[in-house]
Amino acid sequence: MTTTDRPNGSSFQRKQKAERPMVPKAEFGSYYGSPVLNPPVWESPDIPGYLFLGGLAGGSSLLGAGASLTGRPALAAVTKSGAIAGAALSMYFLVHDLGRPARFLNMLRVFKVTSPMSVGSWLLAAYVPAAGVAAATDLWGMAGLRDLPGRRLLGAASTAGAAVLGPFVASYTAALISDTAVPSWHDGYPEMPFIFTGSGAMAAGGLGLLGTSVLGASAGEAVPARNLALLGAAMESAAMRRMTRRLTLTAEPFATGRAGKYVKAAKILAGLGAAGTVASAFPLPVRARRAVAAVSGVALVAGSACTRWGIFHAGVASAEDPKYTVIPQRERLESEAAGHAGSKG
């Protein structure tokens, strides 16, 4: 009995996208086209929301610390409140997505550096109280209540703590999703943290712009938020572009289907938001400046959210179609075999 090298009984022929010539020939073996992987059981809005809010919170803690240091009370109040609200809501999402929410505390049963979810749980266990105290002490002062002894010191320490931990809260979720067999998440691991921190910085900047406008703060208060929003937007889009250009087949899910719509919406929102942010720096009448800044801020926050929803859905799509698992692995085997043959011959 001889068998041909390539399976033909259950080969699947997929339509090749004309506009993506770098995608390799799409003939591959599969078991009736069913996925090789068990796709993530994580759901929207819980998990993409969790990714987004972690970024928003982390970036806000940085802005909050800077605002306190440089005497920008409105910006400090907005961003510190945003940080704890974002972190609290993200914790809610995380717990809500568990199959057994009552056993949430089992997360803190062990510490495992091989599990980004374990590392993240401990990180949040330190970050959330710091962000909470930073916001509470700040708002206490703002509200003009009778000062408590040690409030300033406690406020400064918790603000600093939240600012040190914040960037990690924004970035560790990239390892969380990349440390899986999900093709588009795993393959994107070098750029993913930079997309996430860029996106988080952009969202925090957007929140700062929105908040300072609504509170009617002086023009100078919003400047660092504006700067951070623009820097973050640039980093998010550069890292995203780098990732989708580097990846070949597994870049496809970021551009197609539901994920593709979110990624496109994210680009448009970030672009408009950035343009508005720049416009808000020009000498405009006060009301117009505030309106432009507020609308831009909303667009930037929404853009950041769309990026995470896009990445989330791209990963799920890449796990659901066996071609993203089989073809890259098959190619790896073939190139290894060619390498061996080459070195022997």
């Binding site: 009984g9 078991y31 090789v36 800077g66 049963r109 495992k112 070098p190 796990a319």
Partner: protein, 273 residues
Amino acid sequence: MTETTDPASRSGYADHPPRMGFFTDTSVCIGCKACEVACKEWNGVPSAGGRDLLGLSYDNTGGLGADTWRHVAFIEQTKPMRQEGADGPGGDMRWLMASDVCKHCTNAACLDVCPTGSLFRTEFGTVVVQEDICNGCGYCVPACPYGVIDRREDDGRAWKCTMCYDRIGDGLEPACAKACPTDSIQYGPLEELRERAAARVEEVDGARLYGDDPSDGVGGDGAFFLLLDEPEVYGLPPDPVVTTRDLPSMWRHVGAAAGVMAALAVAAFGGAK
């Protein structure tokens, strides 16, 4: 056995039995599904529910999951068989049947990523979920490169093959191996199984071993297979890699990205005098 390939020693068992495993020789599988049934019976695995006739040949199970710990795949192939001298009907059609199961990987991604310590390595080198600890975070599900473990809808916890941890501790063989009428599923010390498989693969035309190689991307499987076609035809990944192999590099990128984010914030205030 060296330190690096023996998962039980690596997990801190000083004194432990030999690593136990499954060798599934698909060339003698007759597709009777006795393994699926025996597994459900012994382990009290509920019905997967809802799924009736999938239209995948004689397979109405579909794939491994929370409620399916053994899965028999049926593949109908039209191939030029070119069997010399053999005439008679049906020459160009062949059946492939294979009973799939958790691979009990040497480097198991499910176990690495589990944040609660619910998944653990047994003294037999197998990988088992402790259901009283699992909080249903679902991380193990997309981490597994083989699509084995899954979360059960109604109870919210993750489930998979335990290699009948309760039976093998008493010196019994797992229920599936016990029930298999053709010895397609063989249970025993992994070293012995590997030797047996190496001899068997020489005897069968077109056969190849899958998961037997300790130098593969998961460090070799505790449950490995003799296949008659490419792994992907059976729904198996051709070259699986444990995702945590790249985790040190992932953490470095996470650290760098956090640093850059802090730098952006400093720049944002620096430019705002």
